[in-house]
Point group: C2
Chain length 494, copies 2
């Protein structure tokens, strides 16, 4: 309920009777839109109590306003502000109440301004969506996670660890990860080297925030992860793109650039490069570490895909191969759980973690430390390991099925190569088949699909999408591919 005692002031000193003072005060607020059209006013008894006047006074005020058309009586419910009054200053349906910002100085825009993601004409909701590599939330151990989570609230006396609600994350999860990282990827990190973040993206943000200042050079793969590139540019860094081939980022080009200019940092996705899904070879990993030492730059190693391998075993992180002094290692549990339960982590020098936590506090104070503790339990009791084993098998089958379907039904339309792991297939379309048109066509059939421009960069158009297979079951994959096939066929009609 609105705080009417503050909206309506009755001055006993005035000649004007109280009911009129109330009526005109309410009318003023209805005009201004502070009392919204269609709003049901409090009952006369309630309003009389709130304004501490006699109920008859309220009835008189309401009747007065009803007579003037400001209120309408709703049988059995009471008085409602008449909807659609022309005099009322509120938003017409559709257009935002606030309109555009009118600070005459304007607010600062992001520079360079971030282009909106082009979306199909159709607004959705969709029956199906081709994401660029999300896990299937239907397979995630959400029930087990939430059971642990809820038990933390059921306790009569909640656990008190004020020092632990730190921006670096729940102490228990940091300890647990210390062991988990050693067992899974040979990474020796103490809890003090580990920070829990709100998804891997926040770890990338904090690493970039710590490393980059306007004008600094950061090397990225081309094609590459557009969100990271936008972030680096937004921080004022100069983003230099290095070609990515079948074994990852081209180290020879990296060396050439280092000889020419001072490089501050290198951003890589060593397992299943985003978007092309190639794996960085061990030789190149060693080469990059050597270059980082020789030319004194930092490596941001975004290894969010480490846990998902189907045709081969993963390689150890650069951070594990003696690169601890140079590398900020980033991982995520988002792919193991869901894209909405966002828990990522950063592994780095202890003093850098302290700074990153201080910086994180300014952005969002802290994460959901209770959820972080619940996740720690799932890792400790082996649930996470079992889950990863299970979904690796299922996602492998989905990858194989999708690749077979693409082969059979879209062989003449696309080019792709089967990824060793991860959750998406880098799918390039032949120019004869415009992705924008295909996207619109399948949208009308209830399938969301990107328009293929996400990964374009200055002077480079890939006409490609990352075809996420992990979140779609067999039937959904078949439907998605056949809808695309139909769209392509209809495009070829004379």
């Amino acid at each position: 309920m609105l705080p009417f005692e503050n909206l309506v002031r009755i001055d006993r000193g005035l000649r004007q009777p109280a009911y009129q003072q109330i009526a005109s005060a309410l009318q003023k607020h209805i005009r201004q839109g502070t009392i919204a059209p269609g709003l049901l006013l409090p009952g006369t008894r309630e309003m009389a109590r709130v304004l501490s006047v006699h109920r008859k006074t309220i009835i008189a005020a309401y009747d007065e306003l009803a007579a003037q058309g400001w209120l309408e009586v709703e049988p059995k419910r009471g008085f409602r502000v008449t909807p659609g009054l022309p005099e009322v200053q509120v938003n017409r349906p559709g257009d935002p109440a606030f309109g555009p910002a009118t600070f005459s100085t304007g607010f600062y825009r992001l520079e360079p301004e971030i282009p909106p993601i082009p979306v199909p004409a159709q607004a959705g909701p969709y029956r199906l969506a081709i994401d660029d590599g999300h896990p299937d939330p239907r397979l995630a151990p959400v029930e087990l996670l939430l059971r642990e989570y809820r038990s933390r609230f059921r306790r009569n006396r909640h656990v008190v660890r004020p020092l632990e609600n730190g921006a670096a994350g729940a102490a228990r999860l940091r300890e647990t990860l210390s062991a988990f990282l050693a067992q899974t990827r040979g990474l020796q990190a103490a809890a003090a080297n580990i920070m829990i973040t709100h998804g891997a993206q926040m770890a990338i943000f904090l690493a970039a925030r710590m490393l980059l200042r306007p004008g600094d050079v950061v090397l990225v793969g081309e094609p590459g992860y557009y969100v990271a590139n936008q972030l680096f540019e937004e921080l004022g860094a100069s983003v230099v793109r290095v070609p990515v081939d079948d074994t990852g980022i081209d180290t020879r080009t990296v060396a050439d650039i280092c000889r020419k200019e001072a490089v501050r940092a290198l951003y890589i996705v060593p397992h299943h490069h985003h978007p092309t899904t190639v794996t960085l070879s061990p030789e190149r990993r060693m080469k990059l570490l050597a270059l980082a030492r020789e030319y004194d730059f930092a490596i941001i190693e975004d290894d969010y895909d480490f846990d998902f391998h189907y045709s081969s075993a993963p390689y150890l992180p650069l951070a594990a191969s003696g690169g601890q002094d140079r590398v900020i290692y980033i991982g995520s549990f988002g792919k193991a759980l869901t894209t909405t339960i966002r828990i990522g982590f950063m592994v780095a020098a202890a003093d850098l973690i302290v700074q990153a936590a201080a910086c994180r506090r300014l952005v969002e104070l802290r994460g959901d430390t209770q959820m972080e503790e619940a996740l720690a339990v799932l890792i400790e009791n082996g649930t996470m390991a079992r889950h990863l084993k299970k979904v690796n098998k299922i996602y492998r089958e989905r990858r194989d099925l999708l690749c077979r379907l693409l082969e059979e039904q879209l062989g003449h339309v696309i080019r792709f190569s089967k990824p060793d792991g991860g959750m998406a297939v880098w799918t390039r379309f032949e120019p004869a088949f415009p992705l924008a048109a295909i996207s619109d066509a399948v949208a009308r059939k209830g399938l969301f699909m990107h328009k293929g421009t996400l990964f374009d960069s200055p002077g480079q158009s890939y006409h490609a999408i990352r075809f996420g297979f992990a979140s779609l079951n067999e039937q959904e994959l078949r439907e998605a591919v056949s809808l695309i096939r139909q769209a392509c066929d209809s495009l070829q009609m004379p």
Copy 2:
């Protein structure tokens, strides 16, 4: 399990027998610390399968390493890497594995560097904590929220709304808030004016990021919310402190400053100013809006406490009183739920929301849109309104109890005034009772309490804490106050 197939390469061409190649490869990784001390190696069968050699070969390799002391046999479990080998390069217990950052250029530090929060000697965990104004998670409708949340995963086919996983938050919650804000505080905002954030702090960050550039002047209350001040300084803004008295920030001083220099933004907490808990008077609200227009600055209105009033009704936000063109309004559900389920919101001009969402995407992609939808359901079905009514009654009782206890037991030690609402009492200690010593003393009894320096600013020491009462029940409040009393008494002993 570690990816041993990539750690151990067997070269059939070599003279050296396979078991020796395996043994030396494993030894190398144990030395480097990639295979951690104490780690249980895979069984001989499993390892033979992984490396595709005969099991006898693995047994020979393990025996060799055991003979050299690298491994030790654990009956019934297998071979374990010997802990505490001097030659192994890993962290000694206690010190972080990575040590300090050794980038010779170093990484950039936050400037000004953010001081760590001073904490008691005692490390915790604590039986009790005096927070600076948190809700009681034991009262939160977490069960109902999580029921809605879980139901979203149980569905065989998850809802597909790719366009909605936007950084601006779940569309359903934005729509629901549009109505909720009109009904509770007379704020007319369309969904396009509303962005869901990860806690109110992220809304403050985004607003500041949009408004402030290095050198810009931002006005804040003194004493004030130190995290916001640190954020503004970190963004390079020049923070100018304006005295706060019993009716809020001193508008005369604001006017004086505006006459002298260009002011870019003003940050206020209109209900229960942080830390002093005073409420900004309606007259001053109008004055601030007038000044904002006259001198062309923006107002960041952090109204996180709007929903918690005990002795009086809340005033309408500046954003509702015709200030829509000048004000960025910030609210939160963190206080209504728990401090860990962090859902806040920002209300502003539509084009500013678009920019803020683009900026948020670079920091953390998106929030937990499923949790946001679950919260929307609780607001729509009236659970939230009932919950707020319930806790307002309980928190009022706790406030009254705490104030009585402070009066009775610490009257000679502290000064405070009873807050109209919110979750904390601004409690200033007499110089004769050093807070640092009291904090350490109660910590030894299991009570966490800040050292009273959080709100100090250059040249200003308040020797005060915000005594959070909402998260402590009657018994806990009594215990906390009596522990402080005991500490004070012992300090006075000759």
